[in-house]
Amino acid sequence: MPQLIDVLGNPVENPWLSLAKDATLEEVRQSSDKLLLLPFQLWLAEKAALLATGKTFGVWLDSDQSCELLAGDLGLLPLVALNFPTFMDGRHYSSAVVLRQQMQYDGDIRAIGDVLRDQLFFMKRCGFSSFLLKDSVKLEDAQRGLRDFTTSYQSTVEQPEPLFRRRA
């Protein structure tokens, strides 16, 4: 089981069942799970029918999918997961920033996919709040990764005041 950690690096339970990219409405209906993490297209296509099931949903986006299409839905979604097909695909750093700053999303933003320790610090600063670690990543390494740097220059989601406004 991949380890899930929160923004402080604490291991947390993962109650969400994640459905694959080609999942169907039928699978949702038949699932006995209450918390389902749905592929983005399924959510967009079947929103009304999904909500009628009475379950709670999160949505996961691939790196080429645009979070703006969730405008209006965010209040219904306690979790948005952003998938990194490879850690070198950096599009979702911007998605997280857009979700937080532009769309005012305050639910959980989770990094999934190729989530390695050396990117955790940057993800955290862009507004990710949980991380589903790749199997190969050890918990204590991930915790260290979240603390790679003591301070940073830019204005970010995590710390909107840039260093130049904080410098003593």
Binding site: S66, F87, M88, D89, G90, R91, Y93, S94, S95, V97, V98, Q101, Q102, L116, D118, Q119, F121, F122, M123, R125, C126, D148, F149, T150, T151, S152, Y153, Q154, S155, T156, P160, E161, P162, L163, F164, R165, R167
Partner: protein
């Protein structure tokens, strides 16, 4: 020069600790090489043809004598005794050992230097005009702005894994020696009609496989909005830039595919978010950064010196050097001196550890301990007293650093090419050397006059061949090294891309080809025309006729 405070220094220390650990994990087999690769690249470390190559940033080209001594030490202790200045205000070491690289970075940190983001798909070292702050008639000193951009771009969390590398140049002088228009973003400092300072912003320029001159995305961006606007451009690029094909991943392709107007609309929409937010620059911050770039304690001196006048009247060697390598300074009685690193027989941009120590000494003695590196791969002493020129010249002569060719044919730009670089199609250095040998004559160089000749060993164009008046590109023809020639390129305010002359040439023919090109120019030019002017007047055909009539 900018000096680090505790914050800057702490970030550097954190980075070294992080990279030391990454390298250890790689050497212990905990980190796969595909995972280590982007990490080492963002610390300037390539695996080259013969050994790793470490690229160290010289932020916007400013270097102190203390830093140069450290580079000399690194060249001597960790490398084979020399370094190579690149066209991007970086220095490259060609022979470091991988396990020692974290130690090298720690040594660099002692003098506030680093290799952060000198490679990889991230925002690279910001470059600028080498005469910033000392040029006469400057619009505005670009250095404080470069420092502001350096801090913004260093470990920017959102833009650490872009589709491709990203280069920014800033220019505040009339001439533009920074090749500003062939950068992903080019920033010209400018004033609007009410006298407020801001930037003209260009986007989508670049060399490489698809050379493009940048287009204006915004005529005037007030300085306060610099960082929020950069954030907006980068965000659009990060999200929409192509990632399916490495050769189409630069921002220039996105700008081209969308068109500048549609691209601008997207940037404006993204900018709406950050505009006037906390990343908006403050007067305080700009003042703080400017404080690091105030004038050194200049003396008030006359702008005339009898000894220099006498030397100019009697000493031909001094005069030749003075004509080419000494420039007007904003202060009377001071001069800007270029050390042309193009002595025939040494690779363009290479400097030995001994020469580095020697130049550091000269900077201490003659130029307030500061110097610059240029994108033409030369060094500059920015603040030399007029009266010191004869002594400085004599000292430079002793170390083969008085080559009187700045801005002339033999002051050519060349990438490391096939001798070092694993991406090369062909060698660059031997071509440069063969041409330099053929034309190594002061009178001949003077007669040819101002010209740029740029050589790249492959399409990646590290030698900026597209924007050389004469450009030379190494190509592979059935496994043999050939060279394609372009004419008419230029990288100043009137930037232009060179046109291909015709079929490529064998290595041995290259000096002859250059000679033929110059014959046409010398025969056809009018009194004061530079090569580029003649070319623009007569076009490429006369050159084609002459070159191909006789060599093929």
């Amino acid at each position: 020069m900018y000096r680090y405070d505790n914050y800057d220094q702490q970030m550097l220390q954190d980075r070294i600790a992080q990279f030391r650990d990454q390298t250890r994990r790689f050497l212990d087999g905990e980190l796969e090489s595909s995972q280590y690769q982007p990490l080492r690249l963002q610390n300037g470390l390539y695996i080259q043809r013969l050994a790793p190559m470490l690229r160290v940033a010289i932020p916007y080209g400013c270097l102190s004598s203390r830093q140069l001594r450290k580079l000399a030490h690194i060249a001597r202790f960790y490398d084979k005794g020399y370094g190579h200045f690149s066209t991007r205000q970086n220095i490259q070491f060609n022979w470091p050992k991988l396990p020692e690289v974290p130690d090298i970075l720690a040594e660099l940190a002692e003098v506030e230097m680093h290799a952060i983001q000198t490679s990889g798909n991230c925002i690279r070292n910001t470059t600028t005009d080498q005469f910033a702050g000392v040029a006469p008639r400057e619009i505005e000193d670009s250095r404080p702005w470069c420092e502001i951009i350096r801090q913004w771009s260093t470990f920017h969390p959102e833009f650490a894994h872009l589709p491709r590398k990203f280069k920014i140049a800033v220019c505040g002088t009339e001439q533009d020696q920074a090749a500003t228009q062939v950068h992903d973003i080019g920033l010209y400092l400018t004033r609007n009609f009410t006298g407020d300072l801001g930037f003209q912003v260009l986007v989508g320029g670049g060399l490489g496989r698809t050379p493009v001159i940048g287009q204006v995305i915004r005529e005037f961006l007030p300085w306060q909005h610099l960082l929020t606007y950069l954030d907006a451009i980068l965000r659009v690029y990060n999200r929409e830039g192509r990632r399916d094909n490495k050769y189409k991943a630069r921002i220039k392709i996105l700008v081209k595919e969308l068109g500048i107007d549609a691209f601008r609309d997207r940037v404006e929409a993204a900018w709406d978010q950050g505009r006037d937010g906390p990343a908006t620059l403050t007067e305080d911050e700009v003042r703080r950064c400017k404080r690091f770039f105030t004038d050194p304690p200049y003396e008030s001196l006359p702008d005339h010196n009898a000894a220099v006048a006498a030397a100019l009247a009697t000493d031909v060697r001094f005069t030749n050097w003075h004509d080419r390598n000494v420039r007007q300074h904003k202060r009377p009685g001071y001069r800007i001196v270029t050390l042309c690193l193009k002595a025939t027989g040494s690779a363009p941009g290479d400097l030995s550890a001994e020469q580095m120590d020697f130049v550091a000494e000269l900077a201490d003695r003659y130029s307030f301990s500061e110097l610059r590196v240029t994108h033409e791969q030369n060094l500059v002493l920015t603040d030399v007293r007029l009266q010191d020129l004869p002594a400085l010249h004599a000292a430079l002569l002793r170390e083969q650093l008085a080559t009187p060719y700045t801005g002339l044919l033999n002051d050519m730009i060349a990438c490391p090419g096939g001798d070092f670089c694993s991406l090369a199609n062909a060698k660059s250095i031997p071509i440069a050397e063969a041409i330099q040998r053929r034309f190594d004559d002061v009178e001949l160089q003077k007669r040819i006059g101002e010209i740029t000749l740029n050589i790249s060993g492959c399409m990646n164009a590290c030698g900026h061949h597209h924007v050389g008046n004469i450009g030379i590109l190494g190509v592979d023809k059935k496994g043999e090294e050939f060279y394609q020639v372009t004419l008419g390129g230029s990288s100043d305010r009137k930037a232009a891309l060179g046109k291909v002359l015709g079929p490529s040439f064998a290595q041995k023919d290259m000096p002859e080809v250059v000679d033929k090109i110059l014959q046409v120019y010398l025969a056809r030019r009018t009194a004061d025309e530079r090569f580029i002017d003649t070319y623009q007047r007569i076009g490429i055909e006369p050159f084609q006729e002459h070159v191909y009539a006789t060599t093929h």
